[in-house]
C-alpha cells in the first residue's frame, strides 16, 4: 500500500479544511475570533478512538447484533449496519464499500463497531457517505437508521446525523457505505 486511498483522502481533507478556514476568515470574522481552548483533540478521528473504546456494557450483545444477518448487504439488518443512518449505497448502484457512479466517498466518516455473526468478532466500520449528487431514490427497505453506540454531535466521529461529506466537490448527500476498517481488538 504505497499511496493508499486513505492517504489521498487525507490530503484532500487537509486541503478542504484549509479552504474552509480561509473562507470563514474572509466572510465571517469581523474582529479576531475567540478561540476556545480545550483538552480534547481537534481531529474527529482521534475522538472516535475514545468513543469506540469506551462503549458501556461491552460484555453483552445488542439487539441489533443479536438479530443481524450476513448474507444481504442491501438490508438494514446486515451486520455492518449497526449504526448507519441513511440510504444504503448497495441499493443505489454502489456496494457496501463502493459509491454509486457519479458520486464521491467522503474522506472522513463516522465510526461504528459491529459484530459479525459469522465469526462472532467485532469490527470497526467506517460509515462513509457518498456525496455530490441528489439523494438516491431507492426502496424504503434501504433507508436505515440504526443506533448502536451512536453518540451526539459533540462526539462527531460517533454521530450518524452529520452529513459526512466534507472533502468532495459538494456536500450534497447521496447514500451511505459501511466499509470494514479492521477488527475491533
Amino acid at each position: 500500500m504505497t499511496e493508499s486511498f486513505f492517504d489521498k483522502l487525507g490530503e484532500k481533507l487537509t486541503r478542504k479544511m484549509a479552504q474552509g478556514i480561509s473562507r470563514r476568515s474572509m466572510i465571517a470574522r469581523a474582529g479576531s475570533a475567540a478561540v476556545v481552548t480545550s483538552s480534547l483533540p481537534v481531529l474527529p478521528v482521534q475522538r472516535a478512538q475514545a468513543a469506540a473504546a469506551q462503549t458501556p456494557q461491552s460484555a453483552a450483545v445488542s439487539d441489533f447484533d443479536r438479530r443481524a444477518q450476513s448474507t444481504d448487504p442491501t438490508k438494514c439488518d446486515y451486520w455492518r449496519h449497526c449504526a448507519i443512518d441513511g440510504v444504503l449505497c448497495g441499493c443505489c448502484g454502489g456496494g457496501v464499500h463502493t459509491c454509486p457512479p457519479g458520486t464521491q466517498p467522503s474522506p472522513v466518516s463516522w465510526i461504528g463497531t459491529c459484530r459479525n455473526p459469522v465469526d462472532n468478532r467485532s469490527y470497526v466500520i467506517a460509515y462513509r457517505d457518498c456525496c455530490g449528487r441528489t439523494l438516491c431514490n431507492s426502496s424504503p427497505d434501504c433507508h436505515c437508521n440504526t443506533e448502536d453506540r451512536e453518540l451526539p454531535v459533540y462526539r462527531p466521529q460517533a454521530n450518524n446525523d452529520i452529513i459526512w461529506c466534507f472533502g468532495g466537490s459538494s456536500a450534497v448527500y447521496h447514500c451511505s457505505t459501511a466499509a470494514l476498517v479492521g477488527q475491533a481488538e
Partner: protein, 385 residues
C-alpha cells in the same frame, strides 16, 4: 380597465356558451362576477399554529385547531428554524448549491415576516453544520439581539449574528463542543465531548469571552441528548441523558447545574441503566422532548427498549412535573412517534410526528386525539414560543 385587461374582456365577449342544450335553472341566479387575484395574509400568530417539517422541501404551517394549511416556508431537513419570542418573525438557516447538487454553496440566514411569510432579509453565513434533527443547531437569545448558528466543517464553531444589524459579528471556535443553548441574554453554552459545557459570553461590542464548566455527564457512559431543551426566556436548559436522567441548568458564564433525576423513577418505574440487554421504558426519537413552559411540565416520547434505542420512536408521551419530579400522566399515542411538540397556551395541544408521516394532535385538557392525519411529517415540529 386598459391594456391587458381590455383584451381579456374582449375575449370573454366573443366566447360562446358551451352548454346551450341545457335548460337554465328555474330561479335565474345572477351571473358570477370576475374576481381579482390576491395574496393571503395571516393574522397574528396563534398559539395553536404548528409548524412541522414536511417532505424534504418545506415547513408547512398548520392551524392545529382545524388542521388547515396556513402557509409554507421553504426548508430542507437540514434547515434550522426559530420563531422569534415576539412571534413576529421566523428565522430559517439553510444551505443550498447554486446548481442543485453542485456549484457554489450558499449558507444563508433568512428572516420571514410571520404574517406575510415573505422573506424580509437574508444574510450570507460561513458554512453551517449540515446535521439533521437538531433544534439547538440554531437559536436566538431571549431579547432577540443575537443569533447563534452552529458550524461543523468538521471543526466546531459558532457564528454569532447581530440580528438588529443583520450581520455576522464573529465566529467563535468551540473545539470538541457542539450546539447552542442560549442564555437569557448575551451568550450561549455548548455541550462538549468531555461532558462539560463551554460558555461563550458575547458583549454588546461583539467581544466573546469563553469559560469552561466542569464535566457533569459522561459522553461515553450516558450522553446528554442533543435535543435537550433550552428555555430562552429564563436562560435555562434541561439536559436529558439517553437513559432518561434530567439535569436542569441555569446557563451563563458559570452555569449552575442541578442534581439529576430519573424520568423513570419519577414515574414509579425502575431507573433505566445503560445495559444493551436491559429492557426499560426509555426516551427516544428525533425530537423526543417538549416542555410546557407555563408549569414546566416535560413531555417525553417513551418506548420500551434496551440501551442504544435513543432514536427509536415513542409509543407513549409521558408528562412529568420537573419541579416535583413526578409523573403527571402517560398518554398513549395512536401510532409510534418520532417527534413531540406542545402549544404554549391555556388550552394546550400536544403534537406528535408519526413514523408513518402522520401529524397527531391531542387535546391536553382531556387527552383526546383530535386529529391523526398524513402530512408527510418529518423529524421535527415547531410551535410558537
Amino acid at each position: 380597465m386598459t391594456g391587458w385587461f381590455r383584451r381579456v374582456s374582449a375575449m370573454i365577449a366573443s366566447v360562446v356558451v358551451s352548454s346551450p342544450g341545457l335548460a337554465r335553472a328555474a330561479d335565474p341566479a345572477p351571473v358570477l362576477q370576475a374576481e381579482q387575484s390576491d395574496v393571503a395574509q395571516l393574522p397574528a400568530m396563534g398559539a395553536h399554529w404548528v409548524l412541522p417539517y414536511t417532505k424534504t422541501t418545506a415547513i408547512t404551517l398548520y392551524d392545529g385547531d382545524n388542521g388547515h394549511v396556513l402557509g409554507t416556508l421553504p426548508a430542507t431537513p437540514l434547515a434550522n428554524t426559530v420563531i422569534t419570542p415576539d412571534r413576529r418573525s421566523i428565522y430559517i438557516t439553510e444551505t443550498s448549491w447554486s446548481l442543485v447538487d453542485h456549484g457554489d454553496r450558499h449558507d444563508m440566514l433568512q428572516q420571514f415576516d410571520a404574517r406575510t411569510l415573505e422573506r424580509v432579509r437574508e444574510l450570507a453565513l460561513p458554512p453551517r453544520a449540515l446535521v439533521g434533527r437538531k433544534q439547538q443547531n440554531f437559536d436566538v437569545d431571549a431579547n432577540g439581539k443575537f443569533g447563534f448558528i452552529f458550524d461543523l466543517s468538521p471543526a466546531s464553531a459558532v457564528t454569532v449574528v447581530d440580528l438588529s444589524a443583520f450581520r455576522v459579528v464573529r465566529t467563535v471556535d468551540i473545539p470538541g463542543c457542539a450546539l447552542v443553548f442560549p442564555w437569557q441574554g448575551g451568550g450561549f453554552s455548548s455541550l462538549c465531548g468531555d461532558g462539560s459545557l463551554t460558555n461563550v459570553a458575547v458583549g454588546s461590542d461583539g467581544k466573546a469571552t469563553v469559560t469552561h464548566s466542569k464535566p457533569f455527564f459522561s459522553a461515553d457512559g450516558d450522553p446528554v441528548y442533543e435535543q435537550s431543551l433550552a428555555e430562552r426566556a429564563k436562560g435555562d436548559a434541561y439536559f436529558i441523558t439517553y437513559s432518561g436522567k434530567v439535569m436542569k441548568a441555569h446557563l451563563g458564564p458559570q452555569p449552575v447545574i442541578e442534581t439529576a433525576w430519573s424520568i423513570q423513577q419519577a414515574a414509579g418505574q425502575p431507573v433505566a441503566g445503560t445495559g444493551v440487554q436491559e429492557l426499560a421504558w426509555r426516551p427516544g426519537g428525533t425530537q423526543p422532548f417538549a416542555m410546557f413552559y407555563y408549569n414546566h411540565h416535560l413531555f417525553a416520547l417513551m418506548h420500551m427498549g434496551t440501551y442504544w434505542t435513543h432514536k427509536t420512536a415513542g409509543t407513549e408521551v409521558w408528562e412529568l412535573d420537573t419541579q416535583a419530579h413526578r409523573l403527571v400522566r402517560r398518554i398513549d399515542l395512536p401510532a409510534p412517534a418520532k417527534a413531540v411538540a406542545v402549544s404554549q397556551d391555556q388550552k394546550p395541544l400536544l403534537y406528535a410526528n408519526g413514523e408513518n408521516g402522520n401529524l397527531m394532535v391531542i387535546d391536553l385538557q382531556n387527552g383526546k386525539t383530535l386529529r391523526n392525519t398524513h402530512i408527510d411529517a418529518g423529524a421535527m415540529t415547531l410551535t410558537p414560543p
